[in-house]
């Protein structure tokens, strides 16, 4: 009996020790990667690929980054990339404080934020490239109907609760020949804070400002609506409940749900990866930025020429010049990989993003080349 008691205590101790050791190991890696400019990485041969870089930021990119990091590390066995999904806001704070070597963010730094000074960078100049385009589709569940045409004002009216019946004149007039049921519309939105919500709401706000008068943010602005947790929650509701309509990552539309072709400039554009990439391509660059600070002024309201107007554009952000050239090389290698056709394919397969077009890749590559590695 004494033996069992002792072994029990020993087991408890062992578990505690393991747990604590686990914590310690976890806590070790991130600061070491982000706050030690010299150290393990300084032993790397010039231009060689060994060392650790740490990143934080947008959770929208998390799935894509996990797959990209795995492939990148497979190709460069000496390199460790840590991408921790903290949310874009925390990522930008970390980058300002120099705690992250690079970050992912659902928006670029505003021009006036650039002068604040980045503690991890040798200069105030940074590289921002749009490498992750995640189109947001509007999908619905009406048996027998695969696609519906809706312009921005109609979509806004439905989600604002002003259009409540499927056979409302506003919908019927855009879909001649489609037999719309006389049933209630249930708009479904995300219950969690999400960049997808922000993308969708800013689209409504930009294109149908007179109908959609709510504030833009990552929270759904209307209380008392039908809500579901995460993309999967929305997909599940759309797949199972008749009369629902919701917005979600385009890759996650349930098989039996119908899709809205969104009205742009008089024509109706169904979602496609090319159409989403076109939205960025057709947008002008934001003014007052350096050439490697590749930020597009995406305005869904001025989308044209077959561009699909609802897409989340997420950026990778790094310093132009690092104190440590090895780190600069690693970041540059990684960014190049992410922007490559292969990297974009991985991201499309794993996270359902829309691969950037070749024309956009040229611009992105030029910006990444500005990272100083000497």
């Amino acid at each position: 009996m004494k033996l069992t008691r002792l072994s029990g205590i020993a087991a408890l101790g062992a578990v505690a020790a393991l747990t604590l050791a686990g914590c310690a190991a976890n806590e070790d890696t991130t600061p070491a990667s982000s706050s030690a400019p010299e150290g393990s990485s300084s032993e790397a041969p010039a231009g060689g690929a060994t060392g650790t870089i740490g990143a934080t930021g947008a959770s929208s990119q998390a799935a894509a980054q996990a797959a990209l990091v795995a492939t990148f590390q497979g190709k460069n066995p000496g390199v460790t990339v840590n991408y921790e999904s903290t949310g874009s806001g925390a990522g930008r704070d970390n980058f300002l404080a120099g705690a992250s070597d690079f970050i992912g963010s659902d928006r670029a730094y505003h021009v006036e934020e650039l002068s604040a000074g980045f503690k991890g960078c040798a200069t105030d100049s940074i590289v921002e490239v749009p490498t992750y385009i995640s189109p947001v589709a509007v999908a619905f569940n009406l048996p027998g109907i695969d696609t519906l045409n809706m312009d921005a004002a109609t979509i806004a009216g439905i989600f604002a609760g002003e259009i409540t019946q499927w056979n409302d004149e506003a919908i019927a007039s855009q879909n001649e020949g489609v037999e719309l049921p006389d049933s209630a519309i249930t708009p479904v939105n995300r219950s969690d804070a999400s960049g997808t919500t922000e993308t969708f709401v800013s689209y409504l706000s930009a294109t149908a400002g007179d109908v959609w008068t709510y504030e833009v943010g990552d929270e759904w602005p209307i209380d008392g609506t039908e809500r579901a947790q995460g993309t999967q929650g929305i997909a599940q509701v759309l797949g199972s409940s008749e009369g629902t309509i919701g917005y979600l990552d385009a890759s996650q539309i349930p098989a039996d749900a119908g899709q809205v072709a969104v009205g742009v400039d008089g024509e109706y554009v169904p979602y496609s990866a090319e159409a989403a990439s076109k939205l960025i391509e057709n947008s002008p660059l934001e003014e007052g930025r350096e050439p490697q600070d590749l930020v597009f002024a995406v305005d869904p309201a001025s989308a044209s020429d077959g561009a699909y107007p609802i897409a989340l554009v997420s950026y990778l952000i790094s310093c132009t010049e690092y104190e440590d050239a090895t780190k600069a090389q690693l970041v540059k290698d990684y960014f190049t990989f992410v922007a490559s056709a292969e990297g974009q394919e991985i991201s499309a397969a794993e996270a359902g993003s829309a691969p950037i077009s070749d024309a956009l890749r040229e611009q992105v590559s030029a910006a990444i080349d500005a990272i100083v590695t000497e």
Binding site: K2, R5, I9, S59, S85, T86, G87, G89, A90, D93, A184, T186, V188, S191, D192, A193, S194, G195, G217, D218, D223, G224, T225, E226, R227, A228, Q229, G233, Q236, V237, S240, S241, E242, G243, T244
Partner: protein, 327 residues
């Protein structure tokens, strides 16, 4: 919890005074059990201190720069969630209590011995199902299953006076309402409530029961006269422990409920009050800066409420300790 701490402390002084022989095992055991008792206190204190310290920036700080509050007062932000937490938990308690007492009575006084053992085992098994599984079940199957019933309810009793305060339409198209969440919660709190009620019912003095029967009481009258009065304290404490679990339940509510920050008593509509725990789970991943503090501060409120509920349960049990034996 408290007994492990008290027992050795109470026995130690007399042993010391008559100089009983102390073997290493005695020292080790009294030391380690005292340590275990102290650890509980330290953990609780550490949690409370963490919650309070982290909450201060949200409650006392500038609401305008807070990314979650966005200028709103903290208390007006937290109030709907507190309401949602209490509302869903109380609904669950109202649904689960009669069922739990019924099952416990069946096991303790009606069922044949073999059946009672099997049934008791199955109920305990229910307690071992992880809450995320209940959440999946509620979100993927149960809500859709209930939706047609909800639609019927809104068409019938939803039009009656008074009842229309709770059951009126428009009915949720998905069935992910607060009533669904409360039903899922009630299934989750059934095991603990049943287990405690069963134990208390079994402890009814046999002499009381036999006396009641000897006076000509039927079995139901015997239960009403001897068992239920004796077990009142135990039933209340079981209910309180169930309530405590329902208050803090996160995953199932997060996955099942279509919740908004609103105060609403309607049971079958799309807009339902959100609970504190589910709100934290939904918004923590994207929270930053003082937004994190805001969520932690709502956690502090939940901590205090749960603590109060458990304290009340303890108090009721202790008040009737000599009868119930459920402590």
């Amino acid at each position: 919890m408290s007994t492990t701490e008290k027992a050795p402390a109470r026995q130690a002084p007399p042993e010391g005074s008559i100089k009983a022989k102390k073997r290493p095992g005695d020292l080790a055991f009294s030391g380690s059990s005292l340590g275990a008792g102290i650890i509980i206190l330290i953990v609780l204190a550490a949690t409370a201190v963490f919650l309070v310290v982290q909450s201060i920036p949200a409650i006392a700080g500038d609401a305008d720069t807070n990314p979650i509050l966005g200028g709103e007062n903290f208390w007006s932000y937290a109030l709907p969630f507190l309401f949602g937490t209490l509302w869903s938990a109380l609904l669950a308690l109202a649904i689960a209590s009669p069922i739990a007492i019924g099952i416990a009575l069946f096991i303790s006084h009606y069922a044949p011995r073999r059946l009672a053992a099997v049934l008791g085992y199955i109920i305990d098994l229910l307690a071992a199902v992880p809450s995320v599984v209940f959440g999946l079940w509620g979100a993927l199957f149960f809500s859709g299953f209930l939706q047609p019933f909800f639609a019927t309810l809104t068409d019938t009793i939803g039009t009656w006076p008074i009842l229309n305060l709770f059951f009126s339409g428009p009915v949720s198209a998905t069935g992910r309402t607060v009533l669904t969440a409360a039903l899922v919660l009630s299934v989750m709190i059934l095991p603990i409530m049943t287990a405690i009620c069963r134990e208390v019912f079994l402890q009814t003095p046999k002499l009381h029961e036999e006396a009641a029967l000897a006076l000509g009481a039927t079995r139901w009258e015997m239960i009403r006269m001897a068992v239920l009065p004796f077990a009142r304290g135990g039933m209340v404490s079981g209910a309180m422990l169930g309530l405590g679990r329902a208050l803090g339940e996160t995953m199932a509510v997060t996955m099942v409920l279509s919740g908004s920050p609103i105060v609403a008593f309607q049971l079958l509509q799309s807009g339902n009050p959100q609970s504190i725990a589910a709100n934290i789970a939904l918004h923590f991943p994207e929270a930053f800066d003082t937004g994190v503090n805001t969520l932690i501060a709502t956690g502090l409120i939940l901590f205090i409420v749960t603590f109060a509920v458990n304290a009340v349960a303890r108090w009721i049990v202790n008040r009737r300790a000599e009868f119930s034996g459920a402590n």
